[in-house]
Amino acid sequence: MSVKKLDKKALNSWVESLVAGQKVFGVQAKGERFAFAELTDASALRLDYDVTMLPPKKYFLPQREDLLTFKRSGGHESVIECDPFVLLGVHPYDFVAIRQMDAIFEKDNDDIHYKARRNAATIVVCDVQNASENVFAGCMNGAVVEDGYDVLITGIGKDYLLDAGTEKGEALLHGVGAPDARAEDMAERSKVWEANKAALKKHELKCAPADLPKLLGSSEEHPVWAEKAEGCFSCGSCNLVCPTCYCFDVQDEIDWNMDSGRRYRCWDGCMLTNFATVTGNHNFRPKVEDRYRHRYYRKGKYIPEKIGEISCVGCGRCITACVAKIANPVEIYNRLLEGK
């Protein structure tokens, strides 16, 4: 597949043509921060962003999504509809997370709601241009992706390389009248990659990510869990902003006519007090400490055991989002490495 080289102007007109032709979600400024939102004006795209507040998972597992509609007078019907869309400017670590979600939602039972959205998406990954204050993707194999994307954008100096990794990506670049990248451009890209692997390490994990399951295997009684949990609000912010957290709740909603309605799912989080509470108020994880530990085990042990990859990609969002400033995974894992 081909790699094209575009200058800023050419890139802009490419984005303009995308916006004119289809539904595009791209990174834009929201206050002093950034968020993915529908892009209607190409000039609002901010590929120089550091990190978005919510990861792009919201397009595959929306905050609230109808699963089915029903009529009490009879029958259920699946709700599966989404228009094709382009997701523009996904950082490599978020793309790694999306691929993990793919594995989760396919494993054992294929979730066609997730899959429909996933199939509808063309994902344009963009190499990080500005590191966020807490990113540590460089420690988690999340700084760079070398395959899987539909298109990869890399800024090299004043220009951009657009690399189509799939047929979908190829189609997206169709008609871009730009020259192919030359060998020295590709060398520049490798330099960007190497630089990002080194730069996206605002926190330094003192072991290989692959060692985490074993480390956690012997750390259940470590004092750090109780210590940190003391400051925890059980607010779930760390869950919600995490690109690999996917737990959800399911609820029914009835219409005013008392007949039709819908069953929907919405984001949930294992840090929330009642996440494991059953009828009769029995809570299987009653203590903050239990829930706090559970979350780190999910990232470092439980999910890895399911899909073979550490389920933290190093985006650093939880560190920023935690009001209590206690949700830094690197700090926790390093503490465990130190022993007691």
């Binding site: 968020a35 059980s234 779930g236 009835i254 007090t273 009001v323």
Partner: protein, 248 residues
């Protein structure tokens, strides 16, 4: 099946919560199709009305209001407290932090002794009679109200979120108010409002009351990290969650 008969009453409040019912726009027609609204404030004769559900807006600030509320309770199978004034006493309870004589003088000066200006400690509805369901918020979230009404009509117990406002705040992609050098009560306040305040750049003042087990200890430590004091926080907590007795 006959339609549930609903009556709406208000006590001391801004009536903003009733307004949210009106603001359901087209849906209000659905509402009155689903239930029979047999009384909405004092407009209908006070006696002889029977109702299945009484919705109470406002706080109780005078002895005569307490009596009236008890009568309503007797005639209602289900009693719902609507909005912060009814649920927690809301803003009206700020008054409880002062001496009542002083409060009257402050507003009415030399006329403060006139009998019709009398007032008592503010109470939430639940401090006077048994409340079956609450719709918290100042004002209530009209979508949440609609969901609660529909659930009840279906015979399903509505459940309020047990998690704090931060959840909804995160879902709406806001920068945290603490980062803007403000004290936000979001981490200890019960969600369900969809975090309108932080989403519009305002700190949460806790109008929905607290989650079941607010970690105020954590709040203390955090305040230090953000260069604030526990007094700053406590003061904010008084706004919508003052107690029956002076809290200061």
């Amino acid at each position: 099946m006959s339609k549930p008969r609903v009556a709406i009453f208000d006590f001391a409040c801004c009536e903003g919560c009733q307004l949210q019912i009106v603001n359901l726009e087209e849906e209000i027609i659905d509402l009155v199709t689903l239930v029979d609204v047999v009384e909405w404030r004092e407009a209908m004769s006070e006696q002889s009305e029977e109702y299945d559900i009484a919705i109470i807006e406002g706080s109780i600030t005078r002895p005569q209001d307490e009596e009236r509320l008890k009568e309503i309770r007797e005639r209602a199978k289900i009693l719902i407290a609507l909005g912060a004034c009814a649920v927690t006493g809301g803003i009206n309870k700020l008054k409880n932090n002062f001496d009542l004589e002083d409060v009257k003088k402050c507003v009415y000066g030399k006329d403060a002794a006139m009998p019709h200006l009398d007032t008592a400690m503010t109470k939430a509805v639940g401090e006077v009679v048994k409340v079956d369901f609450v719709v918290p918020g100042c004002p209530i979230n009209r979508a949440e109200f609609a969901v609660i009404v529909r659930s009840l009509a279906l015979g399903k117990t509505p459940v309020l979120p047990t998690y704090p406002v931060c959840v909804e705040c995160k879902m709406r992609e806001n920068g945290c108010r603490f980062e803007y050098d403000e004290i936000c009560l979001g981490p200890i306040t019960r969600a369900g409002c969809d975090a309108p305040c932080p989403s519009a750049g305002h700190w949460c003042y806790g109008c929905r009351g607290y989650v079941d087990d607010p970690n105020v200890n954590a709040a203390k430590d955090i305040l230090e990290k953000y260069g604030k004091t526990i007094d700053d926080l406590k003061s904010k907590m008084l706004l919508f969650n003052s107690k029956q007795e002076p809290t200061l």
